[in-house]
Each structure stands twice: as C-alpha cells, then as structure tokens.
Symmetry: C2
Subunit: 470 residues, 2 copies
C-alpha cells in the first residue's frame, strides 16, 4: 500500500511536489526569505501564506502545527473563494495528504487523496494531460521559436525534469534554454502588466505602489508620487504597502517620511531584521546628509549628529542581533562608531565583517574602508597599505572601488617619496600598481575582443571609423 | 456542433493554443526567426520542426502544405519515439484537429480530437488537473518563496491568463512577478546544465559546442577548443554545429577557420541571409586585421586588401538582398566601398542605412561614421560637423561613441581656432559641447542617486570612506 500511495502522492500538485526549496542553501535561509524578506499583498492571500507555513512547519518536524495551518488555509479558502472552493482547495488537500503520510497516518492520507481525485474527475479536461513528454514537446516548440519564448521553454523542461530527472532529452532542452537566457536575457515590461493589473484590480494598493516604484526609476516622479499617496490614503496600515512606499520616499531622499512609514510597519509586525536594517540605513543616510550639508554651509546642523548616529547604531545593532548575515551591516556599524570617535567598537565590527563570507566586491570594499580607518583614524600607514594592497589585488571587484584604492596608494607613495626619494616601500608600491595596470589592460583587451557578438549583432567598429581614425 | 468543437479544440495542448506568436510584430519576422535565425539540433528534432512548419503554413493559408508537414511529423515520431509514439503524437494530432477545423472539415477535426482523448484517458493522472486556478495557486506559492522561484511564478500566471485573460487575480500575480524579474533578473547557470546534458547525451554535439562557447567567454580556451574539435570530428556536416563552431573560431579571431565552416554550412542549407552576413563580416574582420598589421609593420600584406574587400562586399550584398533589415549591413558596405575609394557606392549605402528604423545607439553610430566619411574622404567639414553634432545630441547612445564624437568635434574646433581665434563656428561648437557636458553630469548624478538600492543591498558608500575622503 505504501508504495502505491507514494506514487499517487507524487502526482499531486502541491507544495510538496513543487520543488520550492530548489537551490536553497538551508531551511533557515528559505524560511527567512519567505517570512521576513518577501513583501506580499498580506491581506489578500492569507490562504497561500498558511499553506507555506504548513510546509515550513513540516520541515521543522512540527506536524501538528502544520495541520493547524492547513486548517486555517481551508477556512480562509471557504471565505475568499466561496464559488471555487473545491478547485482552490486542491493544493491544501494535497498538502494534508503529504503531512499525514509523513506522520504515518496512511488512511488519513488516502482520504485526502480521494478528495483530490473526486474534484479532479469533476474538472478534468478529456483533451489535455500533464505529462513530461508533453512538457518536452512544448519546450522544443518554444525553443524553436526563440525570442521571448525561451523563458517558457525553460520552465517546460524544468517541469519535465522534476518528473524524470535523468532524462537526456529533457536535460539537453534545459541546457539550451538556459544557454540562450544567459546570452540574451528576456526584456521584462513591468509597466504594462502593472497598469493592466491596476485596471483589473482597482482596490489593490500594493500593485499601485510597485508601479510607482517603476515610474520613479523612469523619472516620472509626479505620477509616481500621486500613486503612493493614493495607496497610503486607502490602506494606511498595511505593512507591505508601507514597506514599499518607504522605499519610494527613500529613493526620493525624503528620509523622514521613509522612517515614519517603516516604523509604522514595524509596529504592526513581529520583530523583523530587514525592517530594522532599513530604518538604521535611513538614519545613516541622514547622518551622511547632515555631514555633507554641514561641510558645505558650515552652520549649526551638525549639532544633531551624535543623536542621529545613535539612532542609526541602535537600529543596525537590533538588526544585526536578529540576523547576523545582513549585507554590510557590521561595516556600517564600524563606520558609524568611527565617526563617533569610538574606535574600539569600530575595530570590533570591522573584524566581525572580515570574519563573514564575502563576495570579491564586498571584500574589496571592506579592505578599502578598513584601510581608510587605519590611515585616517588610527594613523597606522602600514596597516592601511596592507589593506589597500589586498583590495587592489581583487580583480573581480568594482572598477570604481579599485580606482579609489589606486588613488590612495599613489598618494601614500608620493608623500613618502617627497620625504625620501629612495623610499623602498614607496618604490615597491609604484611597481605593484604598474603591474596591476598592465594586467588590467590585458584583461580589458581580452574582454573587448570577446564582446564582438556573433548573433544578429555584428562588430560595431565601422570600417570608415577605423580607417579614418587619424 | 461548431461551438462545442471549438471549446474542445481550445483545450488541446498544441501549437494553436501555445500562443507562440505573442509579441511578434509580423508573421514575416516570426517566420524569419524560426526558419533562418534560431540554430537548433537539426538532426534530432525534425518532428518538432515539421509541426512548426505546419503551423506557419496554416498562417500563410496553405492548408494542404500544413497537412503534409503534419504527416511528416507523424512518420518521424513513429521512427524516433517508437516506444512513446502515442504520447509524443498528441501535439501533432492536436494540430491536425485545428487545421481541419479551419478548413471546415469538422468531422475530420472531431476524429483527431477523439484520438487525443483516447490517449489522454489512458495516461491521465487522477490526482492532477490543469486548470488556471491551480496555476494561480502555484504562482502565488512560488511568488511568496521569491528568489529563484519568480521565473516559474511568472509562467504560472501567464498560463492562467491564457485561459482567462481578464482575470484580475491572475493579472496582479503576473504584474508582481514581472516587476520582480525586472528588478532582480534571475542568474542563469548554463555551465552546470550544459555539463549535465552532455553527460546524459554523450552523442549530442550541438550542446557540446554551446558549452565550448560559454567556456570561451570564461577564458577557459583549451577545454573549449577541445570540445569544438571533438564535435566537428563527430559531425562534420551538421549545419547547426558548423554555425556555432564558426562563432567559436570567430571570437578567437581564427577567421579563416570560421569562414570555412560557415561556407560548409551554407552549402548544406537553403540560401540564408544570416549566414551570408556572417561570412561577409568575417571577411570584413580580415580586412581590418590586414589594415592594422599593414600599418604596424609596413610590409606587403596590403596587396591582398582589394581582394578581401571584394569578398566582404559580395557576401554582404547577398545578405542585404536576401533580407534588407539586417543590422548595420549597409553601413558596413558603405565603409568597405569608401575604403576601396568608391565613394558613390559608399554614399548610396550610407543613405540606405539612414532610411532605416534605427535605435538611438545605431543612429548615433551612423552619424559618427558618416561624419568621418564626410570629413576624411569627401573633405566636407560642414557636413561632418552637422552629423557629429546630431550624433552628440543622442543621449541614449553609447558612452564610448559619444566620447569619440566629442574628441572629433573638439579637434575641429581647435584647428579652426588656430587659424582664426574668433572663428564663430568653433566657438559655437565649444559652447555646444560644454552644454552637453553639464547635461550629462546632471544625468549621471540622477542615475547615481537612483542606484541606491532598497532591497537587501544597501547604499555602498561607507561612512568611514565618506568621512575620511580628504
């Protein structure tokens, strides 16, 4: 019985067969994203959220809690989709069957399978089936059409491979689709689909704010602002709308408004590291604003600086305590402490950041910052040179950061040579910078050659251009 | 009968219900891409190609030809998929039903519907159905998981909308998914899936060459070259492999090898504008190579120049005659004619290129080239200034091109001022360039502000950095 049950369970469409955790490094990361990061239209889709929570509880081994979430999902579906409740419940029932199966309650599992079966019989179409072979045929057809069909083709092969992971044909289809999407990523047009969604869902404020964010990027500030104000007026307390609206004001450098909205959202949610981090970053941005203005105009606003630094530090520390993996957070704390003249704390947070797993660009940035800290605050040129040099060696970093580091090293070398024209540290530095420069030039050359594109795009150097470049 | 037939037809999974021409500007463009541009594993998937050809013939109104292609597809499926022939034939039968329906042969259409129905009954799963509601549930679950699930979520909502285009919920799901993919495009990892596909399909040479192209981009030349050589040894006459392998050699600047492979492919295919264009471009690249080498070393290789120019011109003209819309082709021809001293033909092709619909970057490049042609070959500074200025005004063009144009205009101005320090043309030019510069600076500023990202990525200016920048 167990094995026939298992094969039936595998046919269900539900969270347990959707491979939702594919590519996740850990359950914790997955949970963190689902629960804390991804904004969502909270009020509308609570049944969806309940099903995911059930799936998460199952992975934590909390079967009873999982069942409780499924019961909530069922109730919500009855309320939200009274007219399609059976169809909408299929996913939840599928999840029930899987949870009971894992609890060893096979007859309960069978019961839910039967519920699913009855509805499928009622609604199934005699002219279409789901099968990996069909997905594969569809995938090839879409691949052959190319262009904007490659995305759909990829999903067809992914689906087919979920059923038959070792199938050679499906795997080559997926490989070709992925190759094409990597070379020619499909253009997305969110504006059109957002406008359409708003037309069809005039009361959906979340989508409205998403459109506003997109319009803001395209410099259409006034329509964007109108949309955000409208959304906040209609649902002044919906956390996802508040968070997205805050993003709008932060881009706009209206930091006080952004902070107010984020605090409002934070009061209505369980403790959330990402929110704390954003609030902290807004205060940090205010610190930077004040510094720049202060430097420009030399008037009294700097008096507020210690207070602002304190607020930024408070929120960033709260965020760091809630989630130790947030990007750059320790490095920000170090910078703020350094600014407040509290160098011990600054040192502590710099070291904490160094102990994390960082991408090359992040590591480079950190060397730049810590080198500057050593040079200007700790007056230790030796350590500064060491960290600038380490940063310079990272070739996959950002070109702007590298330029900054180069300038700093050049200045150090020049100053030393001014004092002693045979200074060996300075001469070594200059030789090192020269070596880096030729490596880069070589790399740029290779990249340029590679950029000659063989598709429809053809090398863009014009003959007339090349010949006449005198 | 007709309307119940139609509703059954709509349930079929086949080319007629897959919305393959979505977003196409014309049947011609679609045909051109499917038939001429998209490389494919020609030998393996002829049934797929036959089905698409049938679909194209139907759109051209050639029903008999469409049926003929479907018959070919059926035969090929019997040969290629003897063990799954029924399942694999579902798409073809679906297409038959649609073609007969459009021909008014309703009983024939019904016959194919019945064939599909019998197989679906045999293979259908009692525990899963395809319905837009299910797609929608899956879409929300994936959206809630975020990260690499957004792509699949988008496809779920697209599928659901195909069935119910005006559904508000589906449309807001699609809008959110598109918004997210636009802001955070998913990383593709073709290397892994290509290696896996090769492992599972050791005889698939096409996928091998795709992997080689990817490796080449990552500077892993030696493994890449080995793969290409292996593929060419195993299938020295397969056109798609030849075309991709040629691309590999062209990136490598082994132009003679690339040309040989492309000519080989061209002999085995119907006339193809893209192939001619690529051959022409390879000859053009050889022209450029010879020029550079000749300039460097001043020895006799330039003698071959007229011959190479002739070959480049021949192939590019053939390509232009076969398809008048290929990118840059007229501009290349103009450059080659100019180089050969045949200015009338050069002028003709420049004007032809100007008459096309060009993107801002293309238009800018063309102004740069034509301006140079006027300046250096036709000795007409006035026209050159006009075109450089027009090119300079295009703000969405490429920054490298703009720099080139700026330098040219500056040189013209300097030369004029050297002769007459009150030269009004020169003074106007300098004022114009200054104005452009401040516009750019303003734009860069605005862009930088916008790049502050509100997601997990947080503004990357370090406090220590900002404060210590002395």
């Amino acid at each position: 019985m167990r094995s026939s049950l298992e094969s039936s369970l595998r046919q269900l469409k539900c969270h347990f067969t959707w491979n939702l955790m594919k590519g996740e490094s850990s359950l914790e990361d997955f949970e963190d994203r689902v629960l804390n990061q991804c904004e969502f239209q909270s009020s509308d889709f609570r049944a969806t959220v309940c099903n995911i929570l059930a799936y998460l509880e199952h992975h934590r081994g909390q079967h009873e809690a999982a069942l409780e979430h499924l019961r909530q999902a069922e109730d919500l579906i009855q309320q939200q989709h009274a007219d399609h409740a059976e169809l909408r419940s299929l996913v939840t029932w599928g999840n029930y069957a899987w949870v009971y199966y894992h609890m060893g309650q096979l007859s309960e599992a069978q019961l839910y399978l039967d519920k699913v079966k009855r509805v499928c019989e009622k609604f199934s179409s005699p002219y279409r089936i789901e099968s990996p072979e069909m997905d594969c045929e569809e995938g090839w057809a879409r691949l052959k059409c190319g262009g904007n069909q490659n995305e759909r083709a990829k999903v067809c092969f992914e689906k087919a491979l979920e059923k038959q992971p070792m199938n050679p044909e499906f795997s080559s289809g997926l490989a070709i689709a992925t190759y094409r999407l990597d070379s020619r990523p499909p253009p997305q047009d969110p504006i059109d689909s957002l406008r359409r969604a708003i037309r069809l869902n005039p009361d959906n404020q979340f989508v409205k704010v998403l459109l506003a964010l997109k319009l803001q990027k395209m410099n259409e500030e006034s329509e964007a602002e109108r949309l955000v104000e409208e959304a906040l007026e209609k649902v002044p307390r919906e956390t996802d709308v508040l968070r997205c609206a805050a993003r709008f004001y932060r881009y706009k450098e209206a930091l006080d408004q952004a902070i107010d909205l984020l605090k409002e959202a934070s009061e209505r949610m369980p403790p959330n590291a990402y929110l704390y981090c954003r609030i902290g970053c807004c205060y940090r941005a205010k610190v930077l604003q004040t510094l720049h203005r202060g430097e420009d105009r030399r008037y009294g606003k700097r008096a507020r600086l210690p207070e602002l630094i304190g607020q930024a530090v408070d929120y960033l520390k709260k965020a760091d305590e809630a989630n130790g993996n947030l990007y750059q957070i320790c490095s920000f704390l170090a910078g703020l402490y350094s600014l407040a003249g509290r160098f011990e704390e600054a040192e502590y947070y710099f070291q904490k950041e160094f102990s994390k797993e960082l991408t090359p660009a992040e590591k480079q940035m950190l060397h730049l910052r810590y080198g500057s800290f050593q040079l200007y605050e700790m007056k230790c040129e030796e350590k500064a040179i060491y960290h600038f040099t380490e940063g310079m060696k990272i070739s996959q970093g950002g070109s702007k950061q590298r330029e900054k580091i180069r300038t700093k090293l050049e200045k150090i070398a020049q100053a030393r040579l001014y004092n002693n024209e045979a200074d060996s540290v300075a001469l070594h530095l200059l030789a090192f910078l020269q070596e880096m420069k030729s490596k880069e030039a070589w790399q740029n050359d290779a990249d340029a050659r590679r950029r000659l594109d063989a598709g429809k795009r053809i090398p863009s150097t014009s003959l007339a251009e090349t010949e006449n470049e005198k």
